[in-house]
Amino acid sequence: MRKYKFLEHTADIKFQAFGNSLEEAFISSFDALKEIIVEKNRIKSVKKIKLKVKGNDLKELLYNFLEEVLFLLDAKDFIASEIKNIKIDVKKNLFEADVLGDRVSNYKISNDVKAITYNDMSIKEEKGKFIVQVVVDV
């Protein structure tokens, strides 16, 4: 199964990310965001950050998780490479994971993503497959 695909959007970038579970779909959405930021360049996993994110609903949880990736990039000189040990508590809207990555200065950043948006955001389950859709402001 394809992990994500980019869709047409006039000013910004829109993508859909897929998974056999909500966790997988969240990870796929991270992979899509990563491709926007550094294209296909491989990021080394030399550092680990423990991430805990809360939200008031599932959309906010997704938004806050992806926004954390942008925050780490600007504020912590940290570019994420992969997400491990992901746990999502749907009832409490809690997200936990290990984020691996490297220093930003070691890589060429090709897109400055300004923000994650709620524009056209959706999180759906269809026959056991999960699809999340996100538009990011670039």
């Binding site: 869709l7 006039t10 938004y63 912590k76 950043i109 090709s110 524009n119």
Partner: protein, 473 residues
């Protein structure tokens, strides 16, 4: 479905009648030619904005309108201060994304002596595009708070430029009522390493030549003449502003709930504590952007001094494109203070307004409209008609028509570079992808955008500037 309902009011002015819970009609400023690129989704966003409490007169879409999040880009809406709301979506994620124009005492021949490529390389090295932590500075959080309070005036006090620079900036480069304690620590963490950086995306620095003057008297007042080299800087509030927007989207959603028709239109009453806090945080981000451009201005001057010892590069004007401001306008023939949100729109005040710097007050506000990469930019002058028709606003640029994904599929960076070189334009960019995504053909025709502004009278043509060298972040 909105497109079919459009009613022509007069040449270049269209109305969306009040349907689906709209409290005011929509007003669209498009020529027949621009109508081909009018997006249904952008019209829907105009209609959604018209449903927000306290909206006054019209929900406005200007010539460069295209789909945004919540509000369209190229949108203007004004709200009653007592009954109205403020929405981060009405300002945008890049708070105070703005344009500054410098006029120089150089001509194309002077540039030719040094070589355009040499000059471009030098500026590219000097001005950090700064994705991630890119700043050349190391400031403390205490200093950052001063930046957030004092904007461009902070930078000038620190030796980056002169008083005349901020006098020729909207609000003297310092939005009032900016309290840094309303900006989250996260936003400050994102911004502190980015002061004095251009940023990527549609942000740029361009060396231009005044190609044509349409209005001699006004051009003279703005210090512009044919053949003069100008420099245009386009940047915003970087990660700090983006985080302020995200933070308050979340806070407003929690406190006042998500609008069911579009989550990005989340809002708070202007008079509420949260509404006031957002406006204060927005002012802080705007001031960060003003300081940002002030420092870049200073570095450009320093850099050019290496080549031209008697260089002068004065600020013509600095205009905001993404902002909300309290302003006085005529509502039912009575002057009233209201909150005007311009998202991808330029203030276009006519002569006499006290907001305009003294030396331009008898003329009108300079309006600076950048073209897309490789196409002309324009200087216009604000008008009284704009104050009547659009709460004193006109377009902010060309407006996208083609998506980034499709641009990447259809356009090659090498080809664009060659085409630009043929036109006599050099380019330096942070990435090839950046060139493709901002290629001239993905934007509306800027010439048509400003022609309509001039014809409707919401911003009159003064001068045309053509690019000779571009740096993209």
């Amino acid at each position: 479905m909105y497109k079919e309902k459009l009613k022509k009011i007069s040449e270049n002015i269209w109305e969306i009648p009040m349907i689906n819970g709209m409290l005011v009609p929509g007003r669209i400023f498009f020529s027949e030619k621009l109508l081909n690129n009018l997006e249904e989704d952008a019209l829907k966003q105009i209609a959604n904005v018209a449903r927000l409490p306290g909206i006054l007169k019209y929900s406005i879409g200007l010539m460069d309108m295209h789909v945004g999040y919540g509000f369209p880009i190229g949108g203007v809406a004004a709200f009653d201060i007592e009954k109205g709301i403020i929405s981060p979506g009405g300002v945008g994620y890049d708070i105070n994304c703005s344009i500054r124009l410098l006029r120089t005492n150089l001509t194309l021949a002077d540039i030719g002596k040094i070589g355009r490529k040499e000059l471009l390389h030098s500026l590219f090295r000097t001005i950090p595009s700064g994705v991630g932590k890119g700043s050349k500075l190391n400031i403390t959080y205490k200093e950052l708070d001063e930046v957030l309070i004092n904007g461009a005036q902070w930078a000038v006090k620190k030796g980056y430029g002169e008083k005349e620079d901020y006098i020729h900036t909207e609000d003297n480069g310092k939005l009032p009522n900016a309290n840094p304690s309303d900006v989250s620590q996260r936003a400050k963490q994102r911004g502190i390493g980015q002061l004095g950086t251009l940023g990527a995306g549609n942000h740029f620095l361009e060396i231009q030549k005044v190609e044509e003057i349409f209005d001699e008297k006004t051009a003279k007042a703005f210090g512009l003449k044919k053949g003069m080299i100008t420099i245009m800087i386009h940047c915003g509030s970087r990660g700090l502003g983006h985080q302020v927007a995200s933070d308050y989207v979340g806070l407003m959603g929690k406190e006042y709930g998500w609008p069911e028709f579009d989550r990005e239109l989340v809002n708070a009453p202007i008079q509420s504590e949260l509404g006031k806090k957002y406006l204060s945080a927005m002012a802080c981000a705007a001031n960060f952007a003003f300081a940002n451009k002030q420092m870049i201005t200073h570095w450009i001057r320093e850099d050019l001094k290496h080549y031209f010892s008697n260089i002068k590069a004065d600020v013509v004007y600095d205009v905001c494109h993404n902002i909300a401001k309290f302003e006085k306008h005529l509502i039912n023939s009575k002057e009233k203070e209201i909150l005007v949100m311009r998202k991808g729109a330029t203030r276009s005040f006519g002569r006499g307004r006290k907001e305009i710097s003294e030396d331009y007050r008898d003329i009108g506000q300079p309006v600076i409209i950048p073209g897309s990469m490789g196409t002309a930019s324009y200087v216009l002058v604000g008008t009284k008609e704009a104050e009547v028709l659009t709460f004193g606003s006109t377009a902010h640029g060309a407006g996208r028509v083609e998506s980034r994904t499709s641009a990447r599929k259809n356009i090659s960076a090498d080809k664009i570079k060659k085409e630009l070189e043929k036109k006599g334009i050099d380019i330096e960019a942070g990435s090839y992808k950046g060139i493709v995504e901002e290629a001239p053909e993905v934007y509306k025709d800027i010439d048509e955008v400003v022609r309509v502004s001039n014809e409707v009278g919401i911003g009159k043509l003064v001068a045309k500037l053509i690019p000779i060298a571009v740096i993209k972040g």
